[in-house]
């Protein structure tokens, strides 16, 4: 399985010189199986860059198929949706799958709201030329996608729940635990540990440095240390710090990686926009 980070930034897309090495786009991750099956996690601004690459392939000819998993619908995880060009090509088949944000509003109603005429000239999902299906699943659901097995779990994210994923392909496991906050960073929730058990790569929310976290408790994000605790307890093989703060410059992220690596024997790196990684 190959993986590419197209967006690693939390909350807000950041442009400028201070954000060039790790990247300023918000969450979007592409996974590709050995057989060429493709899966996308989240539709932050990073998805607009991926879209350009996809349009040069079968998606430009209206023959692309793509499942997209949404962790949740905070804006930084869906703001690339109206600009994801494969949606505009007839014949592409795109599934958007996620949990309903609250008991009162469905995933489909939420995305319709994002494209309401006030907010977007697209004026609704029905105007996307591609075949688009919006599929709600219950948190905790497990399901198969072409080339991938998915296990999900609901994890607290401030005032709402987010969905975490364990994604298996080609005998390798990637665990996505972003936008999560445990009751204490030292006591991760059992469902998080279960998803991360023996993962080849754990992608974990590290919005705050350990130093900042005391000021940001309850905001729904983790300090870098939380990812280390999960990786060690669940025996994950590698840890990617993810969902970097918009205020974290490249140099600040370098420092967080250095400090975090010093705490653990698990190999640690900070997720960065760029090349395909072999899992």
């Amino acid at each position: 399985m190959k993986l590419r980070f197209w967006g690693v930034r939390g909350s807000f897309a950041m442009s400028g010189r201070d954000y060039l090495r790790y990247g300023g786009n918000t969450t979007s991750i592409e996974l590709v199986s050995a057989a060429g099956d493709r899966l996308l996690v989240d539709l932050g601004t990073g998805a607009t860059e991926l879209a350009k690459h996809l349009m040069a392939s079968e998606f430009g000819k209206g023959a692309g198929k793509l499942p997209i998993l949404l962790s949740h619908t905070h804006l930084d995880h869906i703001q690339g949706l109206p600009f994801f060009t494969p949606f505009f090509i007839k014949g592409n088949e795109i599934r958007i799958m996620g949990a309903d944000p609250t008991s009162g509003i469905s995933l489909e109603a939420t995305l319709q709201n994002q494209l309401a005429p006030h907010y977007s000239p697209l004026n609704g999902l029905e105007n996307l030329a591609a075949g688009v299906s919006i599929e709600s699943f219950a948190p905790g659901a497990t399901f198969q996608l072409p080339g991938f097995s998915i296990t999900t779990a609901a994890i607290p994210h401030g005032s709402m729940m987010t969905t975490a994923f364990r994604i298996t392909a080609d005998g390798k496991v990637v665990t996505f635990l972003s936008d999560v906050e445990y009751p204490s960073p030292d006591e991760p929730l059992p469902q998080a540990l279960a998803l991360a058990q023996d993962a080849d790569l754990l992608i974990h929310d590290a919005m705050h440095s350990d130093l900042e976290y005391d000021l940001r408790k309850g905001w729904g994000h983790s300090p870098a240390r939380a990812g280390v605790v999960v990786a060690e307890k669940a025996r994950a093989r590698k840890l990617a710090l993810f969902h970097h703060s918009p205020d974290a410059t490249d140099e600040m992220i370098d420092e967080v990686v250095q400090r975090t690596s010093a705490q653990t024997a698990v190999p640690v790196f900070a997720a960065a926009e760029g090349a395909y990684l072999d899992v």
Partner: protein, 324 residues
């Protein structure tokens, strides 16, 4: 009066190596009168950095901020929840927009902070918000500024603003298509459609009213999202070309045109070539054409001065240079 650009990009923010010089954040302009009064035009992602600066200046004290919105597409409102002065208790934020009622605007702005989109709902943000409906042609004043909304041609409607203050005038004209296709009354167009006589008449009137309002403006900031060859491919997307903006400015006898709302696909190198080619085209027609970049700050109404920094100590010159 001085205007400063905090976001110059259209549609969505574009981080990365190709946008470091012109900037990747979306629409937001700060206006300052000589006495220091402020207005903010549009609340795109550039508003986050502006808010951090204003919160720093306020040193924790509440203030009153006025935000004029051209319209409420995401790229023009997305910065509002990240405007840090909104989290200082006692702060007042007055928002002005073209909607059928201020209530509707409350719904729309409140809608972007619904639980499924943002962690903190508008109702629990420490600042107090008040919403005002604007109407094209009906002037109003905010402190030292006289503001005149102008109807534009964009899906679901959009307004430009002429802003007068300190005996000088400038106008913000974004987002707008040219005036050969009706966009303003539609929610969505799958492509150009034949025009009825009524449509034709209303477009001619809309364009004429725009030119009339721009007459006497020192500077006009204009939606020039597309190059002509791009416009030919996307003629009904609600945006203009620099050539169309230049025609309007020549007719209205405007001294200076500022290109704005750059397409997300335009790299810094492309922007350099656009800036150079339209500076020359403008000069041949008697209009100074500047290309906006994040951080650009220009005085309105002062005579051009190519040697003197316009704000001592800041290094800002009357003809701003894009950062290297």
């Amino acid at each position: 009066m001085q205007i400063t650009f905090w976001g110059v990009r259209g549609s969505y923010p574009v981080p990365g190596a190709a946008t470091v010089r012109y900037g990747g954040q979306t629409s937001c302009v700060e206006v300052r009168s000589a006495s220091g009064e402020a207005l903010i035009v549009d609340a795109g992602t550039g508003m986050r950095a502006l808010g951090n600066k204003l919160a720093g200046e306020a040193q924790g004290r509440p203030g009153h901020y006025h935000v004029l919105l051209s319209h409420v597409h995401w790229d023009h409102i997305q910065g509002l929840p990240f405007f840090s002065p909104a989290y200082i208790p006692g702060t007042q934020i007055s928002v002005y927009a073209l909607l059928t009622a201020a209530d509707e605007l409350n719904q729309v702005i409140g809608g972007i902070t619904r639980a499924e989109f943002f962690p903190q709902p508008l109702a629990s943000v420490p600042a107090n918000f008040d919403f005002h409906q604007v109407e094209p042609g009906i002037e109003f004043t905010i402190g030292a500024f006289t503001v005149s909304p102008i109807a534009l041609n964009h899906p679901f409607g959009s307004v430009g603003y002429r802003i007068d203050g300190d005996d000088a005038s400038w106008a913000y004209v974004s987002d707008t298509a040219p005036f050969d296709q009706v966009l303003h009354k539609q929610h969505f167009l799958s492509g150009p459609e034949p025009l009825s006589d009524t449509d034709q008449t209303s477009l001619v009137a809309m364009r004429a009213a725009l030119v009339e309002r721009l007459r006497g403006c020192d500077t006009v900031v204009y939606d020039t999202h597309f190059l002509p060859e791009e416009y030919a491919k996307f003629p009904h997307y609600g945006h203009s070309t620099p050539d169309q903006a230049l025609d309007i400015c020549v007719e209205a006898n405007v001294r200076r045109l500022v290109l704005y709302h750059h397409a997300p696909s335009h790299t810094d190198d492309q922007m350099d070539s656009i800036a150079a080619s339209y500076l020359a085209k403008g000069a041949s027609r008697g209009v100074e054409v500047l290309t906006s970049f994040e951080g650009m700050s220009i005085p309105i109404g002062s005579a051009p001065s190519f040697d003197e920094p316009t704000r001592p100590g800041t290094g800002v010159h009357d003809v701003p240079q894009v950062p290297k």
